[in-house]
């Protein structure tokens, strides 16, 4: 299997795994119930159910003021990572191309 084909299949698998739940799962009760809530919130519910008296004893020092601000910060986190990986990919590919170019010149002389 060629590298490009293999990579495309890998990416397609990730897209499918993400898209299928979005397309197939419908909120019960005609959209009244929230779906795709976080597992961390669900775990909180289980904790409250096991031990209804438990009170969290510490609050987050800073809480994003809205869902928008929260997604801004999550996007920032992902962008930082993507920037580094983009730099690496460009760097090693450029190095490879430069080396190939230099080898070509050497052979020509």
């Amino acid at each position: 299997m060629s590298g490009t084909l293999k990579n495309s299949l890998l990416l397609a698998a990730v897209v499918l795994l993400t898209a299928i739940p979005l397309l197939t799962i419908k909120a019960p009760g005609g959209g009244q119930t929230a779906i795709f809530t976080g597992t961390d919130n669900q775990a909180q519910d289980v904790i409250q159910q096991i031990n209804p008296d438990y009170q969290p004893w510490f609050e987050s020092l800073f809480t994003p003021a809205s869902g928008e601000i929260e997604s801004l910060l999550f996007a920032l986190q992902a962008a930082l990572g993507a920037g580094v990986i983009g730099y690496y990919v460009g760097y090693v590919r450029g190095k490879r191309a430069q080396k190939a170019g230099a080898d070509g010149v050497n052979r020509a002389h």
Binding site: L10, T39, F62, Q77
Partner: protein, 225 residues
């Protein structure tokens, strides 16, 4: 996802924090040694950390109708050994605890332990097993990354079960409940993480072959520590 701020009793929070401090310390030493011996691998370390930054920022929908996020720690564990990811996970988790109210400072230790220690240990173990069994490398990398992801959330469920045993069924009944929240949701996400890890690992093989062979040697010596 991670254990939320304040949702571990004080004794548990303190214990996991102490465990995490030791693990991060050992991990920092392991990273230092690796980078001192082979400075060329620094960039790959950056890539492994960046991969964790991206993947743990992506909250993905799952077939259960819930969302969670992958961890991205399997890649670094395969490349740098199981210890190196504890400091990386610590940075990511601290970022999320301070700026995103995701996870927390009191639960930081427990979350470092699941994401930065147990996940990478499992990933690294699967990787070594796959190599020993001479399985195809892509498959081994896929399995290592996916199972590191699943093991992380299995650990989260266990940590919560230890802190909140079920009044009638005890720890095992609580574990079953917490696994019901975390594990099933995580399966498709773990598969995605496996595929993405193979993708970037293939690229590294193609373009960073020298550094990878140096790391093969390094990870071997680290494994004997």
């Amino acid at each position: 996802m991670h254990i939320m701020e304040g949702f571990l009793p004080v004794t548990h929070a303190v214990t996991w924090s102490a465990v995490a401090v030791v693990c991060v310390g050992v991990g920092l030493r392991s990273i230092n040694n690796a980078v001192k011996e082979k400075p060329e691998v620094k960039m790959l370390l950056g890539v492994a950390a960046a991969f964790t930054f991206i993947l743990s920022a992506l909250k993905l929908p799952s077939l259960t109708g819930s969302s969670s996020h992958p961890t991205g720690t399997g890649l670094g564990a395969i490349l740098f050994g199981p210890l190196a990811m504890a400091p990386v996970a610590a940075i990511v988790l601290l970022f999320q605890a301070l700026l995103l109210a995701h996870g927390g400072l009191t639960t930081l230790g427990a979350n470092i332990f699941s994401m930065g220690v147990i996940g990478p240990l499992v990933g690294y173990g699967i990787y070594r097993l796959g190599k020993k069994a001479a399985l195809p490398l892509s498959f081994t990398v896929f399995a290592a990354a996916s199972l590191a992801d699943l093991a992380t959330y299995g650990t989260t469920a266990l940590q919560l079960a230890l802190a909140f045993p079920d009044p009638t069924g005890g720890i095992s009944a609580a574990l079953f409940k917490f696994l019901g929240v975390f594990a099933v949701t995580q399966i498709p996400l773990a598969l995605s993480e496996g595929f993405l890890t193979v993708l970037i690992f293939n690229f590294m093989q193609k373009y960073s072959g020298n550094e990878l062979s140096q790391l093969g040697f390094l990870s071997h010596s680290e494994g004997r520590l």
